[in-house]
């Protein structure tokens, strides 16, 4: 359909812009003018809450908000008049009047949108007095996220992302007027409600109101303890994003530098979650094969994304039987390190500390789930351990941002480090393990293995292009040597909800479904570097698939270290021992 175009003037120049554009969109797309805003997120948060994007329009008395006002025929827009500059400045000053002034020690000191804007607009003093006399309490209830309402400017981006992208609705604006806050139900705190810990709210927060619960001090402490054997594992999506924190181009594959930097921080072993991603594929792939062959519950739904797991437990307890019983790669890694590797090396499992670097905030919650103490139970009888001595399979989780912060703190010149390799054996991985970091990756990795196991034939072509790409929902029919396998993929929980409602009604046409909590999969996770590049997920995805293509081994079942762990320790995939160590259970949380 032909789009009607309108003639408008922006700052004296003539432009033809599509009917229906807002002033903000038209100015950006046609006049190369970025009108500042603190609250706008295209398609997600269009509230006009911050009042920073005001512009002058000839013939109107007030200054309309560019984000909400549509262009009209003959409209004459001025984005940079004295009135506009003054109004924007006043609106920012009003936001600053009650804002804490601890910028030196704020986590967002280097990338705060509010601070940047105040600087860009030349705000040098705040004319308005503080009206808030008491600080509001900080919400520390979540294992993943910390919310400081004092730094909140009520832009509503977090509320809208939680509702519209994730369909979780954990937060909303409560109260009115100057007493408004972003709050959970009954102000119980993020840790006590349906929040799934995904951290998408944090990624869009323009200030330091939302941060991860930092575990940096704990990790420094164990790194300085000579009695501990501290090992680190890194998730697939971290290596293609961490370079951004050090000024490297978007989409840089920084795997070798990351391994070198972590070794320099003092980790005794630098291992890789990609290894346990391969292990996950073996377990989940064989679970799929088993369910297909034995007429088990289908579709099988993936279980690597802890935000999705809590979402299912909270909103769809009826589908938990469909969800794979496999632990996530992070948790499999912790268990294997403290059982298989400890045994192989003759280490006391109590001395091993597992730190994982994740693109994810929900992983901080996942590692604290009470059932994630499998290694302790494995050793309890053998070593006659008391219940009080229980330890987690994974001790600490750092986000990509936290790992970068530690590397900076140690003064390591990341971008110029020579590349190093991961340590063996838990650092060996296939390309299938790498693509876990992108939406569709777990599906593709599982298909590479399932195809060859089911058909006993070698795959003619490894790349399943149909399941790649950043669209929120994808489906495909894969030909397994004459047998069609119908698969679907969703990223972002709002999309997941649609697929899962079908499953709940018993109307799902699929045999295998991959769900990732975050838009784009792990590469868009809530623990990733904050970025202003609208194409950032694409760049990171490209890097992930380049990493896969460059791997000598690209199928999980061909990883020699995986073959060895089954031969020496686990037996067969889905063996009793594998089930005991690598699988888990879920709980109905709908009444919480």
């Amino acid at each position: 359909m032909e789009m009607r175009t309108l003639h408008v003037k922006i700052n004296g120049r003539d432009y033809q812009v599509p009917d229906g554009s807002t002033i903000l969109e038209a100015a950006s797309a046609y006049a190369n003018i970025e009108i500042p805003t603190l609250c706008y997120l295209e398609g997600i948060s269009e509230e006009g809450a911050c009042g920073v994007c005001v512009v002058d329009v000839k013939g109107t008395r007030n200054l309309p908000r560019a984000c909400l006002t549509k262009v009209s025929e003959g409209m004459e827009i001025w984005t940079n008049t004295a009135r506009v500059r003054e109004a924007r400045k006043i609106n920012v000053e009003l936001l600053l009047a009650n804002h804490p002034t601890d910028c030196f020690t704020c986590e967002r000191t280097e990338n705060c949108d509010l601070r940047d804007l105040a600087s860009e607009l030349g705000v040098r003093e705040v004319e308005f007095p503080r009206t808030r006399t008491e600080w509001l309490p900080i919400d520390n209830t979540s294992l993943s996220l910390v919310r400081d309402p004092n730094k909140c400017i009520l832009c509503r981006r977090c509320v809208n992302v939680c509702a519209k992208v994730q369909s979780v609705y954990a937060i909303d604006i409560a109260g009115r007027g100057s007493n408004s806050t972003v709050s959970t139900f009954l102000n119980e705190g993020l840790g006590n409600v349906e929040c799934v810990n995904c951290g998408q709210c944090l990624l869009v927060c323009p200030t330091g109101a939302l941060t991860e619960r930092s575990e940096i001090p704990d990790v420094w402490k164990v790194l300085g303890d000579p009695d501990k054997i501290v090992v680190v594992e890194t998730a697939p999506a971290v290596r293609v994003a961490i370079g951004e924190e050090f000024g490297m181009p978007d989409g840089t594959q920084a795997t070798g530098k990351m391994a070198a930097a972590l070794r320099s921080l003092g980790f005794n072993k630098v291992f890789d979650t990609d290894f346990s991603a391969d292990l996950t594929i073996m377990e989940e792939g064989f679970e799929l094969i088993g369910r297909i062959k034995n007429g088990g519950t289908l579709p099988l739904i993936t279980s690597c994304s802890p935000g999705w797991i809590k979402f299912a437990e909270t909103f769809f307890p009826g589908v938990l039987d469909y969800v794979s019983s496999c632990k996530s790669p992070q948790q499999m890694f912790g268990t294997v390190t403290k059982t298989y590797w400890a045994e192989k090396m003759g280490f006391d499992p109590r001395k091993i500390v597992v730190v994982s670097v994740m693109p994810c905030t929900a992983k901080k919650f996942e590692k604290e789930r009470p059932e994630m103490k499998t290694a302790f139970h494995y050793w309890q009888e053998k070593m006659s351990l008391k219940d009080e001595e229980a330890f987690n399979d994974v001790d600490f989780v750092l986000t990509t941002r936290e790992a970068a912060r530690m590397i900076r703190e140690a003064g390591i010149d990341f971008a110029n480090l020579p590349d190093e390799d991961f340590d063996k054996p838990l650092g060996e991985s296939s390309g299938a393990g790498v693509i876990f970091g992108a939406t569709g990756g777990v599906m593709e990795a599982a298909l590479r293995t399932a195809y060859e196991v089911l058909t006993r034939k070698s795959l003619p072509r490894l790349d399943f292009e149909d399941v790649r790409g950043l669209e929120g929902m994808k489906s495909a029919t894969i030909d397994i040597d004459g047998t069609p396998l119908r698969v679907a993929i969703a990223n972002g929980l709002g999309n997941a909800r649609i697929l899962i409602e079908e499953v709940q009604k018993g109307e799902s046409p699929y045999q295998f479904i991959e769900i990732m909590t975050c838009p784009g999969g792990c590469l868009g996770g809530g623990g990733q570097p904050l970025s202003n590049n609208p194409d950032i997920k694409k760049r990171r995805a490209e890097a992930i698939y380049r990493e896969d293509a460059g791997k000598p081994i690209r199928k999980s079942h061909e990883n020699p270290e995986i073959q060895e762990i089954y031969k020496d320790f686990l037996g067969e995939p889905n063996s009793e021992k594998a089930h005991h160590l690598l699988h888990t259970t879920y709980h109905d949380r709908s009444g919480e």
Binding site: Y169, D172, S183, T184, F185, L186
Partner: protein
């Protein structure tokens, strides 16, 4: 929470009756968009205020996220999340009442009842509210008790008045 409520309903016929009444109203409104505020109004009439379990219950019944229910309830002054006393005393501090000395009336009420605006006396007799204009400026200063309006109030007169409401 919901399981807990089921058990309490079994033990408490009064509560059961209140929830049945709420249920009937929700059934009447079922399927109507934007019925949340109406339902909350009715719930407050039935329970006298909006207990947390009622918020959770309405959220489930109307399939409205509970964070939204909480947001709406905390936005409107009319909704109360604490039990109301048998009598609600509203002292007007609007402009007309204020210039005619309603703040001294308000002070007297807080002293004699020992509660501030928004609070309920420990014996459950009174709830004190502040209002900004009730549209009876000609009678300023004004005090409203339950549904009755009293004009030309003074600190002395208000004490006598309160004693009439037991």
């Amino acid at each position: 929470m919901q399981i807990n409520l089921e058990e309490r309903l079994k033990e408490n016929p009064v509560l059961r009756k209140q929830f049945d009444e709420l249920d009937a109203y929700i059934d009447e409104k079922a399927g109507q968009q934007g019925s949340l505020i109406n339902v909350m109004h009715r719930a407050q009439e039935i329970f006298g205020y909006l207990p947390d379990e009622v918020l959770a219950y309405v959220s489930t019944r109307l399939q409205v996220p509970r964070s939204t229910v909480y947001g709406v309830v905390t936005f409107y002054h009319f909704f109360s999340r604490t039990p109301k006393g048998r009598h609600t005393i509203s002292v007007c501090l609007g402009t007309a009442c204020y210039v005619r000395g309603s703040n001294s009336v308000y002070d007297k009420v807080t002293k004699s009842l020992g509660i501030k605006a928004g609070e309920t006396s420990p014996d459950g007799r009174y709830t004190l509210d502040l209002v900004r204009c009730v549209g009876a400026c000609g009678l300023a200063p004004v005090v409203v008790i339950d549904k009755d309006t009293y004009g030309r109030m003074t600190p002395d007169k208000v004490v006598t008045l309160l004693n009439k409401y037991v």
